[in-house]
Amino acid sequence: MKQAHPLVPVAIIAVVSLAGMIAGLAGDGWEDVAAALGLTASVAPIAWALRRGRSLRR
């Protein structure tokens, strides 16, 4: 199977985060949820890497 370009996940996370940040400006309801989800896309891989690191050590 052909491996995806290493920047593909970075680009996806960037687009999702950006879309969330812009959506958050538009209103106070679902827009705030979209903003939080968009930013979570930036934070989640760090938590995932931390968790994976811990399980690899065991």
Partner: protein
């Protein structure tokens, strides 16, 4: 990518990062409390929200007259409204076009026509943190310098992504290699965090730079779109007439229904003209609340003379502020913004560690 190209990008990344790292550390540390400025400011205020009835409030003009009576010979320059209490803030000065240093700030309670009780005078801790974040306490020079650091940061991010691509193939996305060496582990953390926070860091960096250019952008708008809207005359400043402010507010809000008043600029003020009262209206959503609409009201008759939305560059400036501070999406967004701020400190620290711990032969070889 050819080795020579890679080396060139590596140099760009190293030096653009090193140039701005110290200042970005200051900005990320001072920016952290600023994300929660509403909550921190709220700690020093009464926790009980104020309640009032519209019937108990004095007309704006009477409250303004009370403020002006405290400063004989002064004229109104700006007027704004508090959101959480029935208080107006009247800025006065000896003339309508008085410089900032000659202006006086007068908060007036609409229930009593007197200054509100319990207002803490002076400069709070958060104001000092904001000044440090805005200009390193160096005024305009510091502001423009930090704007340049924001551009350096953007360059460091772009070059970082270019460098990350060829090296990310081996370990895979979001993998931190352990056990080989501390340096390798920190390099992976630097790359992973830098990569996943790219969009956020780019938005915060570039909007920070835009914010430092607020003065020249606003000056451009005043000479361009605002001057055209006001079709300004070079005649004398129309004197303030009691009763005209309430009339201007009423007519401006009727001209653009569904919007509320953000602030008012009287004749002679930088945000108005010599013969207009400029009423700046805002919408109800976080987006439209930032995109102000100026309504120019004739200062003699109180009739609306012109309405126009802000041009694109002013909209960009007005939106740069919430996008920089992340204070528009509730507490969840603020917490995530703070987390991203903290992890960006890790990226800066790890970058510095990687540079300082670079093996000497490698540095010498590069220098050669």
């Amino acid at each position: 990518m050819k080795p020579a190209t890679l080396r060139a990008w590596s140099k760009v990344h190293t030096w653009s990062s090193l140039t701005c790292t110290l200042f970005l550390l200051i900005l990320t540390l001072t920016g952290l409390p600023l994300i929660f400025h509403d909550e921190i400011d709220g700690l020093s205020k009464s926790t009980r929200p104020e309640r009032w009835s519209a019937a108990d409030l004095l007309p704006v003009d009477r409250a303004m007259a009370a403020a002006l009576a405290r400063h004989p010979g002064s004229v109104p320059i700006y007027l704004s409204f508090d959101e959480d209490r029935p208080v107006i803030n009247l800025t006065t000065g000896p003339t309508g076009d008085a410089p900032e240093a000659a202006m006086q700030f007068n908060p007036i309670d609409l229930r009593t026509a007197a200054p509100p009780q319990g207002d803490a005078p002076g400069h709070g801790v958060m104001d000092t943190v904001l000044d440090l974040h805005k200009d390193l306490l160096l005024g305009k020079v510091g502001e423009y310098f930090l704007g340049a650091m924001g551009l350096c940061f953007a360059l460091a991010l772009v070059s970082g992504v270019v460098l990350y691509a060829p090296f990310a193939r081996k370990p895979g996305f979001a993998t931190v290699r352990r056990g080989k060496s501390n340096r390798l582990g920190w390099l992976d953390w630097h790359n992973v965090i830098g990569g996943v926070t790219l969009a956020w860091a780019m938005v915060v960096g570039l909007t920070g730079t835009i914010n430092t250019l607020a003065d020249p952008i606003t000056a451009w708008w005043r000479g361009d779109a605002l001057a055209r809207l006001a079709h300004d005359s070079t005649g004398p400043i129309v004197p303030y007439r009691p009763g005209i402010a309430a009339l201007a507010l009423r007519h401006a809000q009727a001209a653009v229904p569904g919007m509320t008043v953000q602030f008012v600029a009287f004749p002679g003020a930088a945000f108005s003209s010599h013969d207009h009262i400029a009423v700046y209206l805002k919408g109800a959503t976080p987006l439209t609340a930032k995109l102000l609409t100026p309504v120019m009201v004739d200062a003699r008759t109180g009739q609306v003379d012109g309405v126009a939305p802000m041009p694109w560059y002013m909209k960009g400036l007005l939106l740069a502020q919430p996008l920089h501070f992340g204070d528009y999406g509730g507490l969840a967004m603020k917490i995530l913004w703070a987390l991203l701020d903290v992890v960006s400190i890790v990226v800066l620290g790890s970058g510095l560690y990687l540079w300082l711990g670079k093996p000497r032969p490698a540095r010498k070889a590069r220098a050669a």
